[in-house]
């Protein structure tokens, strides 16, 4: 019993964080939400073709990613010849409505 207390609270202290009042910062390589740079995108649909779940839809002037379908695999990032997509560190993606999970980016060129 004494050992349990000694090994626990006294030795380790508090190991949990004060999230969300203190924001959590993921590691650098974290595969969070894919983000599109509209200035670089050429709408060549490479990402749409490789997406294993069909989460990406490319139209002539915008590109949308459905985060409800996205599995955060990063295939689109690797496929894009313009390097227009990156995996961001953003992970707080909940939405109250289904439509809120669809992110649309305007293609500027």
């Amino acid at each position: 019993m004494l050992k349990t207390i000694r090994n626990g609270f006294m030795k380790k202290g508090v190991v949990t964080d004060h999230y969300p009042s203190v924001p959590f910062v993921p590691h650098d390589g974290h595969m969070g939400m894919p983000v599109v740079n509209g200035a670089k995108c050429r709408a060549d649909k490479e990402c749409e073709e490789v997406c294993p779940t069909g989460a990406i839809q490319v139209k002539s002037d915008d590109l949308s990613i459905d985060l409800g379908l996205c599995i955060f695999c990063g295939e689109c990032v690797r496929a894009c010849p313009q390097q227009a997509i990156t995996m961001s560190k953003e992970f707080e993606l909940a939405s109250k409505r289904r439509e809120g999970l669809v992110r649309t980016y305007v293609i500027e060129q």
Binding site: N7, G29, M31, V50, P52, I71, F72, G74, E75
Partner: protein, 528 residues
């Protein structure tokens, strides 16, 4: 495998048996034997029993478009050798019956029920052909893995009762539990029959998370198949994707760079460590020793954090790819990994001492949920659960893949077969895994991470065995046009669920969660 061994296997058969063999072939460490359908059970039974082989998988292939029949494959792994025997028999499409292997090889039981569900090939002489994988209301005569069943087909639902085993007697109660459980876990139905406190019968009904992964894989290009494999069973994702990649690499004769082989070992062991930490913590938690359990969960979190640091994914997703791995471990990552392993090793020793020195915990663990060595062998229990019951088998040592041939490690084997033995095996595996990673990071050669991907031509066959944290899993692929023609997946849980029905007998109902946790079974991996 060499020709001498193949000759010895055939020579060990009586003339009557050998007559059933139509054709033999040798490829790598595989012996292929085309056998007469009627001779399949006796030949398989002979190799299984006289050569001490284990049944790795048994499955069917709908070959009607090519040879207008179904093929039945039985894969056996020879004891003490890195060699396999694959028996192939042809089943007439007009007469979809085959003689059952279950009377000779008990562990064929569920495979034959699965074949019956998915292909409509019935095993004659099988003692129990109730549905195993499909829902109760799945219409009869509809077989999802046949090629004429469309992947997006909607089937009418016809509710019918499932014929559960009946246990009668004075004072016998039946306690149905599930499929929906308290807590966020997967669905599965357990039916206990109890006489007073002790459980006298347990029947499992699974299949509630059946997703048709094997069918889906048949229309997925090889590159997307890796992502599918990663998601077969969430916390064993790396092991599954590794098995898939290795199978496709062997189909396409790709040679994975040496550095990638080492990295694959490192990531596979990282996965093992966080899984086993979760299991030993869960065992402590289920004995109501919450304080101790939290120590293990803290360590598990530290390991998942280091996964995220090295690969960007806490579950090591996106690491494996055809021809190698995507993520390298640089000098900075190596130092952080070593540092984290030291912290976890020290922390784990504290946790281990604390649990094993607490009499209330040990009292619950010892002699609870005993799985005898005989039962474990008959049911072909794999992984740590098997090794806690005296089954001395580990794919990493017996059929080495990636860089395991060059790494030295111990395979802990105990004979008691109780919850404590499984706790002990998992605890020792954590320490061994840390040792493997330490060796691998210091011996890892420099070089490329990926080789050029060659997609295989159609009609080739390959398989890959991987030791996942739960035990041996297999991916077996026949190549088709840019995607698998048939992809058979067998998770460790498919073998190990049966152990529950045996191990809980005589235990009291409150011991069930503890026994269940100690086997650490995946519903999703079983149901596919």
């Amino acid at each position: 495998m060499n020709e001498r061994l193949m000759g010895e296997i055939i020579a060990s058969m009586t003339d009557d048996l050998a007559k059933g063999i139509k054709k033999t072939g040798l490829r790598g460490n595989h012996v292929w034997m085309m056998v007469e359908l009627d001779a399949l059970p006796t030949i398989a039974g002979h190799i299984h029993n006289s050569w001490g082989a284990t049944l790795v998988s048994m499955h069917a292939v709908d070959n009607r478009s090519i040879t207008s029949d179904f093929k039945l494959c039985v894969i056996l792994a020879l004891k003490g050798e890195d060699d396999f025997v694959t028996l192939v028999a042809s089943v007439n499409a007009e007469n979809p019956f085959f003689p059952s292997l279950t009377p000779d090889i008990f562990s064929a039981d569920w495979y034959e029920r699965e074949i019956n569900d998915m292909f409509g090939l019935r095993a004659k002489g099988h003692p129990d052909l109730r549905p195993l994988v499909l829902y109760d209301d799945w219409p009869e005569g509809t077989f999802p893995l046949r090629k004429d069943f469309a992947v997006d087909a909607k089937v009418p639902r016809i509710p019918k009762p499932y014929g559960f085993r009946k246990v009668d007697g004075e004072g016998v109660f039946v306690i149905p539990v599930g499929p929906i459980h308290a807590g966020v876990i997967e669905p599965g139905h357990f039916r206990f029959s109890v006489a007073g406190e002790p459980i006298i019968d347990l029947e499992l009904r699974l299949g509630y998370t059946h997703k048709g992964i094997e069918k889906l894989s048949e229309r997925m290009p090889y590159s997307s198949g890796v992502q599918l494999a990663e998601r077969i069973s969430g916390d064993n994702g790396f092991a599954h994707s590794l098995a898939y990649c290795q199978a496709v690499e062997s189909l396409g004769d790709m040679k994975v760079p040496e550095r990638s082989r080492y990295l694959r070992c490192i990531f596979a062991e990282l996965e093992r460590i966080y899984n086993q930490l979760g299991d030993v913590g869960g065992i402590a938690l289920d004995t109501a020793f919450s304080v101790g359990a939290q120590h293990a969960f803290i360590l598990r979190e530290r390991m998942m954090d280091v996964n995220d640091l090295l690969t960007g994914s806490r579950f090591l997703r996106g690491v494996n790819c055809l021809g190698g791995v995507r993520k390298d471990i640089d000098e900075n990552g190596r130092l952080k990994l070593i540092e984290r392993l030291v912290i976890v090793k020290l922390g784990f020793q504290e946790f281990y001492e604390e649990v094993t020195e607490t009499p209330t915990v040990m009292d619950r663990l010892e002699t609870t949920g005993v799985l005898s060595s005989e039962a474990a062998k008959d049911l072909n229990i794999v992984g740590p659960s098997g090794r806690a019951s005296g089954v001395d088998r580990d794919v990493r040592r017996d059929h080495p893949y990636a860089a395991y041939r060059d790494l030295s490690f111990k395979v802990p084997v105990l004979r008691q077969g109780d919850v404590h033995a499984r706790f002990q095996v998992k605890s020792e595996e954590i320490i061994e895994s840390i040792g493997i990673i330490e060796q691998a990071v210091s011996n890892m050669p420099e070089g490329e991470l990926r080789t050029v991907v060659h997609y295989p031509e159609a009609g080739r066959t390959a398989m890959s065995l991987v030791e996942s944290p739960r035990g041996e899993l297999i991916h077996w692929i026949v190549s088709g046009d840019g995607r698998p023609f048939r992809h058979k997946i067998r998770d460790a849980s498919f073998n190990n669920w049966r152990a529950m029905e045996v191990a809980v007998l005589g235990c009291i109902v409150p011991d069930f969660p503890l026994v269940n946790k100690s086997f650490s079974l995946s519903y999703s991996g079983n149901d596919l």
